[in-house]
C-alpha cells in the first residue's frame, strides 16, 4: 500500500457516493429514503470540498462544507416538518402518490 493517497481517489469516492445518492433518489419511493439520499449527495459533495481544502491547504473548503451542513440542518427541519404534514393529510409516505399540489 502506498504511503499517500491520490487526490483523485477522494474525488472518485465523492462521485460514487453522489451517484449512489442520485440512484436512490430515482429508484426509491419512500419520501424519507429519498430525503436521506439527498443528504447523502450533500455529504458526497462535502467530501470533495474537504479533499480540496487539504489539497490547497486552505480552510475555506471546510467553511463551505460547514455551510452545507447548516443548510442541511435547516432543510432537514423544514423537510421533516413537511413530511409530517403530508403524512398527516394524506396518510402516505409514497412519493409517487404526492403528485398534485393540492392537499
Amino acid at each position: 500500500m502506498p504511503a499517500t493517497v491520490p487526490l483523485a481517489w477522494f474525488l472518485i469516492l465523492s462521485a460514487v457516493l453522489f451517484s449512489i445518492g442520485a440512484a436512490g433518489f430515482l429508484l426509491r419511493r419512500s419520501i424519507l429514503t429519498v430525503f436521506m439520499c439527498i443528504e447523502l449527495m450533500l455529504n458526497a459533495v462535502n467530501l470533495s470540498f474537504i479533499s480540496f481544502a487539504h489539497r490547497w491547504k486552505a480552510v475555506d473548503g471546510h467553511i463551505f462544507s460547514f455551510f452545507v451542513m447548516v443548510v442541511a440542518a435547516a432543510e432537514a427541519a423544514v423537510g421533516l416538518a413537511i413530511i409530517l404534514t403530508v403524512f398527516k393529510n394524506r396518510n402516505t409516505l409514497e412519493i409517487d402518490e404526492v403528485s398534485s399540489l393540492k392537499l
Binding site: A22, L27, V34, I95, S99, S100
Partner: protein
C-alpha cells in the same frame, strides 16, 4: 460648535409632535408647541448670532457625510454668514409673528393641528434652505418648502380650486426645479463639488464671460429655478392662485419668506452672475418685465389678496432687477423690508377678511376705517411703506434699488419708477376701496382679537422703521461696498412717483369714484386683457397644458400604453401560456421524473463541456 442644527430642529420637533399626536392634543397645547418651537428657534438664532460676533467670514458646521459615491462627496453642512444671518432673522422673526397671528386667524378652522404642523415643517425646511452650506442641502430645503407650500395652498382640500392651485404651484415649481437641477449637474461636472465655498472660489478664479459660456448657462439655469420659486416670468402664474391658502400662509410663505428663496439663491450665487454678465442682464430684464406686468394686473384686480399677490410678484421682480443690475445687497435689503410690509399687508388683509367673515372682494368692502381702526392704521403704515413714502422701510430699500438701476441703465430706471407709481396706485386703491367711502357689503365687521393685532403692530413698526437696519452696509463683507451715489433728484423722482400713485388712487376711488369705470370703458379691450391677467393662464393652457394632456391621452395612453405595452404584456402572456401548454406535459407531478430530468441536464452540460474540450 454653535449647534446650528438646533435652529431647524426645533420646528421639526414641533412638526413631529403636532403632526403625529396633534389630533389628541388640545388647541392650547398645539399652540404652545407650534409657536414655542418657532420662538425657540428665533431665540437660538439670536443667541448664535450674538455668539458668532461680527461674522466677517462664513462659519461652517459639518455634521456628517451625506452622500459619498466616487467623486461625489457631499456633506450635510450648515453655514452662517452675514447673508444667512439676515435671512435667519427674517424667517424666524416674521415666522414667529405670523405663527402668533395664526392662532387668532385659524381659531375657527378645522384641521387646526394640521395647519400648525405644516407651518412648522415649512419653518424647518426654510431654515434648512437658508442654512445649507452647499447646493444640495439648499435644494433639500428648496424642495421641502415647495412641498409645504403645496400642502398649505391645498389646506382647504375640500375646495377644488384650492387643490388645483396647489397642484399648479407644484407643477410650475417642478419646471423651475428642473432648471435648478441642471444647474447643479453642470456645477458638479465642472467644479467637482457643490459646496458654496469651493464652487465660488473656483468661479472667482475664472475670467468674466463676455459671450455665452458655461457660467452663463449655469446662471440662466439657476435663474430658471429661482424664477419658479420666486414667481418670475414665465413661471409666476402659480403665485396669484396660491392665495387659495389661508391668509397667514399667504403672508408667511407666499410673501415674506419662501418666494424670496429664489432671490436669496441668486444673491448667494452672485459670484457666478458677476462672471456671467449676460445671465445677469437676463435676470434684470426678467425682473423688470415681471415687475411691470404684475403691477399692471394688480391695478385691475378686485380680490384684495389677488391685488397683494400681484404686488408680491411685482416686488419680487424688483428684487430680481436689483440682483440683475449687480446690487445684490439692495435686493436682500428689499427682501427684508418687503417681508415686513408685505407680511403686514397680508395679515392686515387677513384681518379685514376675518372681520368681514371671509369676504375678499374689494367691491363688497368700504368705509371700514372706523369699524376696524387698528387694522386700518397698520395697513396704512404698510401702504405707506410699499409706496415708498419717505423714510419708511420701503422707501429705503426701493431707493437703493432704483439708484443702482439708474447707474446701470436709465431706461430701466424710468420703467422702474413708473412701476413704483403703479405700485403705490394699486395698493392705495385697495386701501381706499376697503376703508374709505360708504359701506358696500352687508356685513357686521368686528375688530380682530388682540393676538392678531399684536403681530400687526409689531410689523407696522418694522415697516416704518425697519429700513434703519442698514442691510447693504452689513452685507459689505460679502457683496462689497455699494456706490454711495446719493442723487437727490433721482430720490425725489421716485418719491414723487409714489406720491403721484397715491394721489391718483385717492382721486379715482375717493374723490371721483366714477373715473375708473370710464377709463376701463375707454380702454375697452386693453382693460379686459389686463383684467384677465393678459390671458397668460389661458395661453399656457392652450400651448402647454392641452397639447400635453391630449398628447398623453391619444399617443401615450391609447397608443403606447394600450397598443404597445399592453400588447407586449398580453403577447408575452399568451406566448408563455402556449409554450406552457406544451411543456405542461412534463409536469407529471412525479418527483423522481423531475430528478431524472435534472440528472439528464447535468449529464448534458458535462457532456457539452467534454465535447467542447473543456476537460483537458
Amino acid at each position: 460648535m454653535h449647534q446650528l442644527w438646533l435652529i431647524p430642529v426645533f420646528p421639526l420637533a414641533g412638526f413631529l409632535i403636532n403632526g403625529l399626536a396633534g389630533r389628541r392634543l388640545s388647541k392650547t397645547v398645539t399652540n404652545v408647541i407650534a409657536i414655542g418651537s418657532v420662538l425657540l428657534s428665533f431665540l437660538w438664532v439670536v443667541k448664535t448670532l450674538m455668539a458668532l460676533g461680527p461674522l466677517e467670514e462664513a462659519y461652517v458646521e459639518h455634521y456628517f457625510n451625506w452622500i459619498s459615491s466616487g467623486p461625489l462627496n457631499i456633506g450635510f453642512d450648515f453655514a452662517v454668514d452675514r447673508l444667512t444671518a439676515v435671512m435667519l432673522l427674517v424667517v424666524t422673526g416674521i415666522g414667529s409673528l405670523i405663527h402668533i397671528y395664526a392662532i387668532g386667524y385659524m381659531s375657527h378652522e378645522g384641521g387646526y393641528y394640521r395647519f400648525f404642523a405644516y407651518l412648522n415643517l415649512f419653518m424647518f425646511f426654510m431654515l434648512t434652505l437658508v442654512l445649507g452650506a452647499n447646493f444640495l442641502v439648499l435644494f433639500v430645503g428648496w424642495e421641502g418648502v415647495g412641498l409645504c407650500s403645496y400642502l398649505l395652498i391645498g389646506f382647504y382640500f375640500l375646495k377644488k380650486s384650492a387643490n388645483d392651485a396647489g397642484k399648479k404651484a407644484f407643477v410650475v415649481n417642478r419646471v423651475g426645479d428642473f432648471g435648478f437641477s441642471l444647474a447643479m449637474f453642470l456645477l458638479f461636472v465642472h467644479f467637482g463639488s457643490l459646496d458654496f465655498k469651493t464652487v465660488f472660489s473656483k468661479v472667482a478664479e475664472m475670467p468674466q464671460e463676455t459671450s455665452f459660456g458655461l457660467l452663463t448657462g449655469i446662471g440662466i439655469l439657476l435663474m430658471v429655478g429661482a424664477a419658479g420659486k420666486s414667481a418670475q416670468i414665465p413661471l409666476y402664474v402659480w403665485l396669484p392662485d396660491a392665495m387659495e391658502g389661508p391668509t397667514p400662509v399667504s403672508a408667511l410663505i407666499h410673501a415674506a419668506t419662501m418666494v424670496t428663496a429664489g432671490v436669496y439663491m441668486v444673491a448667494r450665487s452672485f459670484v457666478i452672475y458677476e462672471h456671467a454678465p449676460i445671465a445677469r442682464e437676463i435676470v434684470a430684464i426678467i425682473g423688470l418685465l415681471t415687475a411691470v406686468m404684475a403691477a399692471t394686473i394688480g391695478m385691475t384686480q378686485f380680490d384684495i389678496k389677488k391685488v397683494y399677490a400681484y404686488s408680491t410678484v411685482s416686488q419680487l421682480g424688483y428684487m430680481f432687477l436689483a440682483c440683475g443690475v449687480g446690487s445684490y445687497a439692495s435686493g436682500v435689503y428689499h427682501i427684508m423690508t418687503h417681508a415686513f410690509f408685505k407680511a403686514l399687508l397680508f395679515l392686515g388683509a387677513g384681518s379685514v377678511i376675518h372681520a368681514l367673515s371671509g369676504e375678499q372682494d374689494l367691491r363688497q368692502m368700504g368705509g371700514l376705517r372706523s369699524k376696524i381702526p387698528m387694522t386700518f392704521l397698520t395697513l396704512l403704515c404698510a401702504s405707506l411703506a410699499i409706496a415708498g413714502f419717505p423714510f419708511t422701510s420701503g422707501f429705503m430699500s426701493k431707493d437703493a434699488i432704483l439708484l443702482a438701476v439708474h447707474e446701470h441703465s436709465p431706461l430701466m430706471f424710468w420703467i422702474g419708477v413708473i412701476t413704483s407709481a403703479m405700485t403705490a396706485f394699486y395698493v392705495w386703491r385697495a386701501l381706499f376701496l376697503c376703508f374709505f367711502g360708504k359701506e358696500r357689503g352687508h356685513h357686521h365687521p368686528h375688530e380682530s382679537p388682540l393676538v392678531m393685532l399684536m403681530p400687526l403692530g409689531v410689523l407696522a413698526l418694522l415697516s416704518l422703521a425697519g429700513g434703519y437696519f442698514n442691510i447693504p452696509h452689513w452685507l459689505e463683507p460679502i457683496f462689497g461696498r455699494p456706490h454711495e451715489e446719493h442723487d437727490t433728484a433721482l430720490v425725489a423722482v421716485s418719491v414723487g412717483a409714489g406720491l403721484l400713485g397715491i394721489f391718483l388712487a385717492w382721486l379715482f376711488y375717493v374723490v371721483k369714484p366714477g373715473i375708473p369705470d370710464s377709463i376701463a370703458n375707454a380702454l375697452g379691450s386693453v382693460y379686459r386683457l389686463v383684467y384677465n391677467k393678459y390671458l397668460v393662464d389661458e395661453l399656457y393652457d392652450a400651448t402647454i397644458v392641452h397639447p400635453i394632456r391630449d398628447g398623453s391621452t391619444t399617443v401615450l395612453w391609447k397608443g403606447v400604453d394600450v397598443g404597445v405595452i399592453d400588447g407586449v404584456a398580453n403577447g408575452v402572456g399568451t406566448t408563455a401560456r402556449g409554450i406552457g401548454g406544451i411543456l405542461r406535459r412534463m409536469q407529471s407531478g412525479n418527483i423522481r421524473a423531475y430528478a431524472a430530468w435534472v440528472l439528464a441536464g447535468a449529464v448534458l452540460v458535462l457532456g457539452a463541456i467534454t465535447v467542447m474540450g473543456g476537460a483537458k
